[in-house]
């Protein structure tokens, strides 16, 4: 099993979700996050007081899927979250050693 973490632009969430549904992903966890990378932040001005914020709002998606699906999931996210501009985000893939469905106690592949 693989854990796929994607940091994307918030307005791309719906497109990414649809693309993932098409490749057979039935669940995910979504979090609103902030961070910075190559994308520069904005300048805010309040009554003349200027603040440069380098933390940019992003959306973080976590998906656990069978290992053989991981490439298709990564491709789907990469294609659907892409705008071609700096700040589109990143995708990370990690190994997962165990999964349990709390309600039934099913494990691993059956728990996904």
């Amino acid at each position: 099993m693989k854990l796929i973490i994607a940091i994307i632009k918030p307005f791309k969430l719906d497109e990414v979700r649809e693309a993932l549904t098409e490749v057979g992903i039935a669940g995910m966890t979504v979090t609103e996050v902030k961070g910075f990378g190559r994308q520069k932040g904005q300048t805010e001005i309040y009554r003349g007081a200027e603040y440069s914020t380098n933390m940019v709002p992003k959306t973080r998606i976590e998906i656990v899927c069978p290992a053989e699906m991981a490439d298709r999931v990564v491709e789907a996210i990469q294609a659907s979250a892409n705008t071609g501009a700096i700040g589109d985000g990143k995708i990370f893939v990690l190994d997962v050693t165990q999964a349990v469905r709390i309600r039934t106690g099913e494990t691993d592949r059956n728990a996904l």
């Binding site: 001005i45 009554r47 003349g48 603040y51």
Partner: protein, 440 residues
């Protein structure tokens, strides 16, 4: 029969009315008009709406989320305290019978002698309003003025210090200045100063006091390098709307009657404010920035402040110019002057109310003139009137600065004045009140 038949109840509209005094002073009992009374009760509640929720939301939205409740609590609590102090000794100190040029006599302490039958004079000979209504109307002015001062000291002053400061400040600063401006034997009234609804008493007074208090208290930890954006400009926007609507009670109510003078104050409170809101945004554009929501709100308040002394002492087009000019000057005061001098007037109580109040008070001497479409109250030339306005402004600045220094040091001696650095970092909501504004 003891009627309040002096001009003690009158804002300084002008000497034309003053001259009419002897004709009716010894006359029959005054008429209390139900229309006037109903309007003044309404106006009084409009001013209360400016404080809670208006000012509380306006100021509250501008601070960081961790200090939201402390701001709302400080404003609500000092306003409540001011109401009690007002009926105990404030009313008599400002508007009681007798006294001198600085304070009135103390014969009406604890509202002694005030009954449902007693009346306060208006600007029209022989027309009066119930004295209780006048007491309440002026009570809300005292309450909002002391709350305005807090704009410079939020996010670091102790709640207890605010309460001690309020009692001392009202007693030695607000009540005497209200008397000087609005009572017939008051210093500024006798000089012929024009201050329709309290530009001097409320705004210059609060603004200068706020600056002095902020200087003594010192900057917030992290100012000006740390990120301190307003936590909710939505609430500041709601507060701005409530202030604007409530200000019609403040300005048009200061006519003390439902008449043409109130109508003039009403239209001026519309158009000066509209011009000021747009002028601030234009000033932002001219300086290479985006026209901002906070800029609009700030301009609205600057315009309201500037038109306060001029509300019944200006024509609509004079008011438009006054509002726009005051707004642009306030813009530079908060965005250029404040950073350059380095003081931490957290919510720009001085930059908007102090500076806007001064521009309004001095400008009133100009826009009042007939050649600018004004009603020419007071019968002075522009030059003479401006000199009187300047003298009033200068005296108020000195009085407020000295009185505030005393009040702040009394609060410091009693309470320690400032929260600990830990409380300041954690937020005053938790540290001072044991609550959070936003859970979940």
């Amino acid at each position: 029969m003891k009627l309040t038949y002096r001009l003690s109840a009158l804002p300084a509209l002008g000497f034309g009315l003053f001259a009419a005094l002897p004709a009716w002073a010894q006359g029959a009992a005054p008429t209390v008009d139900k229309g006037d009374t109903a309007w003044m009760m309404t106006a009084t509640l409009l001013v209360l709406m400016m404080i809670v929720p208006g000012l509380a939301l306006f100021y509250g939205g501008l601070v960081r989320a961790k200090n939201m409740l402390s701001v709302m609590t400080q404003i609500g609590a000092v306003a409540a305290l001011a109401m009690l102090v007002w009926v105990a000794w404030g009313y008599t100190e400002a508007f009681g019978d007798g006294g001198n040029a600085i304070v009135a006599g103390f014969g009406k302490a604890f509202l002694a002698g005030v009954t449902p039958a007693s009346t306060a004079a208006t600007f029209t000979a022989g027309v009066a309003i119930p004295e209780y209504v006048f007491v309440c109307f002026q009570m809300t002015f005292a309450a909002i003025t002391v709350a305005l001062v807090l704009g410079s000291v939020v996010e670091r002053i102790k709640f207890a210090a605010v309460m001690v400061f309020a009692v001392v400040w009202l007693t030695i600063v607000y009540f005497p200045i209200a008397h000087m401006v609005w009572a017939s034997n008051g210093l500024f009234f006798k000089m012929g100063a024009l201050d329709f609804a309290g530009g001097t008493v409320v705004h210059i007074n609060a603004g200068v006091s706020a600056l002095v208090a902020a200087l003594i208290l010192g900057r917030r930890i992290g100012y000006p390098t740390e990120y301190m954006p307003p936590h909710s400009l939505t609430m500041t926007g709601i507060g701005t709307g409530l202030l604007w609507v409530g200000w019609f009670g403040f300005n048009a109510g200061s006519a003390l009657e439902a008449n043409g003078s109130a109508a003039l104050a009403m239209i001026n409170t519309f158009v000066a404010t509209a011009a000021a809101g747009l002028a601030w945004m234009l000033a932002e554009r001219v300086n290479g920035h985006k026209g901002s929501a906070l800029g609009f709100c700030s301009g609205i308040v600057a315009g309201l402040v500037a038109v306060t002394p001029a509300a019944g002492n200006s024509g609509p087009f004079g008011a438009i110019v006054l509002g726009a000019v005051a707004s642009v000057i306030c813009y530079y005061a908060v965005s250029v002057l404040k950073p350059r001098l380095g003081y931490d007037d957290a919510l720009d109580a001085f930059g908007v109310h102090g500076i806007g109040g001064m521009v309004g008070a001095i400008g009133t001497g100009v826009v009042n003139a007939a050649m600018f479409g004004g009603p020419a109250n007071g019968g002075k030339t522009i030059g003479e009137q401006v000199v009187v306005q300047l003298a009033t402004v200068g005296t108020t600045i000195v009085w407020a600065a000295i009185g505030t220094t005393i009040a702040v040091f009394v609060a410091k001696a009693v309470t320690g004045l400032r929260v600990s650095p830990e409380v300041e970092r954690e937020g005053l909501d938790l540290g001072e009140h044991g609550e959070r504004a936003y859970n979940g």
